[in-house]
């Protein structure tokens, strides 16, 4: 066998090997990505479990099935309903226990969840230690209205609320900006939400 034909065979063999290695590399990469996704999901579930055990609270896990087609509203449909014991008015939190929204419509196998930044979302909340105000959602900013000027509200104060019959606080966000109301009697506060990732797949409803 001549030197050139030997070299040709060698080149063909190595190109085959390279092709096979490329395929193996692709398979390994896809397995790695799958592993990373599973690790992330595992981490979220661990956090949720820790929250559940720490606070001794009954929660139901659900996933976002679809969004409201209008971008002017913040409503999502989740894949859990009356079949899992859910009811209207229940609150949804993320894996770290931060408020996401409230159930506004519960059907047998799915529910409609209003996120905190929906323009129709309203909730009485505490700011810092004892200041009380009304949190209102909005596509631009989430605000707290009607805070007494004498209340000592500062930037970065934590915004939280309590669910009746449950002793621990649910955290919503931090104070981002403080403005004086037009009539000068109240303060209006902009809030930076703790849970700002609507792509999150796993959410938990507090029963």
């Amino acid at each position: 066998m001549s030197f050139s034909s030997q070299r040709l065979i060698l080149t063909q063999n190595s190109s085959k090997t390279i092709e096979e290695l490329r395929k193996k590399n692709l398979i390994l990469l896809s397995a790695l990505r799958k592993n990373q996704t599973l690790t992330e999901e595992n981490e979220k579930l661990r956090k949720a479990l820790a929250f559940k055990e720490d606070k001794k609270v009954e929660m139901v896990g659900a996933e976002i099935a679809s969004f409201d087609p209008s971008v002017w509203r913040r409503l999502v449909i989740i894949n859990a309903g009356k079949d899992k014991g859910l009811g209207e008015g229940m609150f949804a939190v993320d894996s770290e226990g931060f408020l996401i929204g409230r159930l506004v419509d519960v059907k047998n196998s799915f529910s409609r969840l209003m996120l905190v930044d929906d323009p129709e979302f309203n909730l009485p909340v505490y700011i810092g230690n004892d200041a009380l105000g009304l949190l209102s959602g909005g596509v631009d900013f989430v605000k707290i209205q009607y805070i007494d000027i004498s209340d000592n509200v500062k930037l970065n104060d934590i915004v939280w609320f309590k669910i009746p019959l449950i002793s621990y606080p649910i955290y919503v966000g931090r104070v981002r900006k403080i403005n004086e109301n037009k009539n000068g009697l109240f303060l209006d506060v902009d809030v930076r939400l703790f849970s700002q990732n609507p792509l999150l797949k796993k959410i938990f409803i507090i029963k």
């Binding site: 679809s66 209008s70 971008v71 913040r74 409503l75 129709e120 792509l199």
Partner: protein, 154 residues
């Protein structure tokens, strides 16, 4: 003509799916179905546009559980308004003027609908929708007129 109508249906179904699945969540502030309806109204005869506007307006209201039929009324009005403008105004830039006019009216109506003046959000909606519309319009018209005979083109 059937092929052209099917293409419109497929495009609108894809836009509708994009709106309900939101692969970019709320980072991309636009409504694909609304842009699709405007696109169809600018490129199709009145009856077809009105049919699609009513159908997808109804579908959107059904998903939103909106009892006021807000989208049905708005999309039908858009179809009528766009065809009125196309019939009465002529010129190179008329389609662009119509699009921006409809977009601004849509933003104002939605601000009233949610009872809030969301300035920053409205500005972002205007910018994102304009960019997406230019892109979608280019791709859709290219796809629409590929493989159509001369007498099919309006």
């Amino acid at each position: 003509m059937i092929e052209k109508n099917l293409k419109a249906l497929v495009a609108l179904l894809i836009f509708f799916l994009l709106d309900t699945l939101r692969p970019f969540a709320y980072s991309l502030i636009t409504e694909f179905t609304f842009l699709g309806i405007v696109l169809i109204c600018l490129n199709y005869p009145f009856k077809t546009s009105l049919f699609f506007a009513i159908s997808f307006g109804f579908a959107q209201d059904a998903i939103c559980m909106d009892k006021t039929s807000f989208n049905l009324l708005e999309y039908s009005a858009i179809a009528v308004f766009i065809h009125y403008c196309l019939r009465n105004f002529h010129g190179k830039a008329v389609k662009s003027f119509i699009f921006f006019g409809v977009l601004i009216v849509h933003i104002i109506i939605n601000n009233f609908h949610i009872n809030t003046a969301a300035y920053l959000f409205s500005l972002l909606f205007f910018i994102h929708s304009s960019i997406i519309f230019v892109l979608v319009n280019h791709l859709f018209t290219k796809w629409l007129y590929s493989g159509l005979k001369g007498n099919d083109v309006i």
